[in-house]
């Protein structure tokens, strides 16, 4: 994803996450739009762009948060790395795998984020309350939204990087 296209996309996603999505909260959870974009692009792209967008997206998220700048990036980077290592074609073949990937990926993001909050900033989080009240509803939102976002980005990705076929 080029900088000219990616940066506005991520800025819009962060603005939506800070203004519109809090009004959709179920219990304490809301869709993690930036996390979904990073997961989707890391899934589709076989280059290192997922890592770069995990870094940028995380910084943008923290700009609109009380957490120290960099915490979200730190939670997103390992995720983007691990997902980027997997083969993108697998996800095109099945519908269940992307859903499973989102559930595991979004949960991992939340767990890493909570660990960083707890140990970097001494934030008084109750694990059971946080998991039930915030993590679970957020992950459910993410699972529902991942396929449309993946489809949208896949369309975009195919236009930017047409698949080459050897004849």
């Amino acid at each position: 994803m080029s900088l000219q296209l990616g940066l506005p996309l991520f800025i819009v996603a962060v603005l939506l996450q800070a203004t519109v999505l809090p009004h959709l909260r179920v219990y304490g959870g809301q869709p993690d739009l930036v996390v979904l974009l990073v997961l989707a692009w890391s899934t589709l792209d076989q280059e290192q762009e997922g890592l770069a967008w995990a870094f940028v997206g995380g910084l943008l998220l923290d700009l609109f948060s009380g957490t120290p700048l960099g915490v979200s990036s730190l939670a997103l980077l390992p995720l983007a790395y691990l997902i980027g290592l997997l083969e993108a074609q697998v996800y095109r073949a099945s519908l269940l795998l992307p859903l499973l990937l989102t559930a595991v990926g979004a949960t991992a993001y939340h767990v890493i984020y909570m660990l960083l909050l707890r140990f970097l900033t001494d934030y008084p989080l109750s694990w059971s309350v946080s998991f039930g009240y915030v993590t679970l509803p957020s992950v459910l939102f993410d699972v529902v939204l991942f396929i449309p976002i993946l489809r949208l980005l896949a369309h975009w990705h195919d236009r930017l990087h047409p698949r080459q076929v050897k004849i």
């Binding site: 800025i11 962060v14 603005l15 939506l16 996450q17 800070a18 203004t19 519109v20 809090p22 009004h23 909260r25 219990y27 304490g28 959870g29 809301q30 930036v34 290192q48 890592l51 770069a52 995990a54 870094f55 995380g58 910084l59 998220l61 923290d62 700009l63 609109f64 948060s65 009380g66 957490t67 120290p68 700048l69 960099g70 915490v71 979200s72 990036s73 730190l74 980077l77 390992p78 790395y81 980027g84 290592l85 984020y113 909570m114 909050l117 970097l120 934030y123 008084p124 989080l125 109750s126 309350v129 946080s130 009240y133 915030v134 957020s138």
Partner: protein, 287 residues
């Protein structure tokens, strides 16, 4: 270099940069970057917040229900305002009788100055309860300034850029406010809950706490002015074996629908770093 190795190098570099950014969070350099980035994003965030509220209003119930709901909301707002007014008058009355004419609340706060700010965004993290407002150091806002609304205490400014300020709401899990109960006259600490409510802890066992009792800032510690309404006790948890009792508190402020806040810029919190230095220094040079 193999693809996996290249990825590892990139991951390592980005992780190091991120750790350096987190480590340097107290430096002024990051504040400059935050100010620069927030400047173009602030109007967009304000527009989106305004747009969302407009859409929410449009998608409310049908017209007649909407009228009734509007009237109910108006009445609720009036009741809440009157409750705040009653509290203020009771406080003045009690001050008058108890302290024999020592300065009342209004005269104590006559020198305070306020800055009104619009809430332009909420925390992107679902674990934190912060809001971002469109006023910053250019408007005289400083870290530590309390934020209030017409219904009571909203929170405290924790971070500030030239054109924006980050406010930690009183229901943030990391928020702890010295408070007292209006009727029971007992003191305690009000802490935020992730679920959005408040809990008053460390209330002495002998205090007679009843549901309905109003919770106000005590002013102890110097982080907030005294006598700002925080909420109302809904239930009390008291066990003989415990040293203290606690109470669930319903906040008077609706944090989900905050649109405008007033920041008390004239209030200067007491600097407690002297005590930290004293404790760190092993108590040497005690008065």
């Amino acid at each position: 270099m193999r693809r996996e190795n290249r990825w590892l190098v990139t991951l390592g570099t980005l992780l190091i940069v991120t750790v350096l950014i987190i480590a340097g969070r107290q430096s002024g350099f990051l504040r400059i970057i935050q100010t620069a980035v927030m400047a173009p994003l602030k109007p967009a965030a304000g527009l989106l917040t305004g747009g969302t509220e407009a859409v929410e209003k449009l998608t409310e119930d049908p017209a007649d229900y909407a009228d009734l709901e509007e009237k109910t909301l108006e009445l609720e707002r009036l009741v809440a305002e009157m409750q705040v007014e009653i509290v203020r008058l009771r406080e003045i009355e009690q001050d008058y009788y108890r302290l024999s004419g020592i300065l009342n609340y209004a005269s104590e706060n006559a020198d305070q100055s306020f800055v009104t700010a619009d809430v332009i965004a909420r925390d992107t993290s679902s674990y934190l309860r912060w809001v971002i407002v469109n006023r910053g150091t250019r408007d005289g806002v400083q870290v530590g300034n309390p934020a209030i609304s017409d219904l009571g205490l909203v929170g405290r400014v924790e971070s500030v850029a030239a054109n924006a300020a980050w406010i930690r709401l009183t229901n943030d899990p990391e928020s702890a406010i010295n408070a007292r109960l209006q009727t029971a006259r007992a003191e305690g600490t009000v802490v935020g809950q992730l679920q959005g409510g408040l809990r008053m802890e460390l209330i002495p066992q002998e205090a007679l706490v009843e549901p309905g009792d109003l919770v106000l800032t005590s002013g102890l510690g110097g982080t907030f002015p005294a006598n700002i309404v925080i909420g109302q006790v809904t239930s009390v948890r008291r066990q003989q074996a415990d040293l203290f009792q606690s109470a669930e508190v319903r906040p008077t402020v609706d944090y989900d629908n905050l649109r405008i806040v007033s920041i008390i810029t004239g209030f200067e919190p007491v600097d407690l770093t002297t005590f930290d230095e004293f404790i760190e220094g092993g108590g040497e040079g005690a008065p």
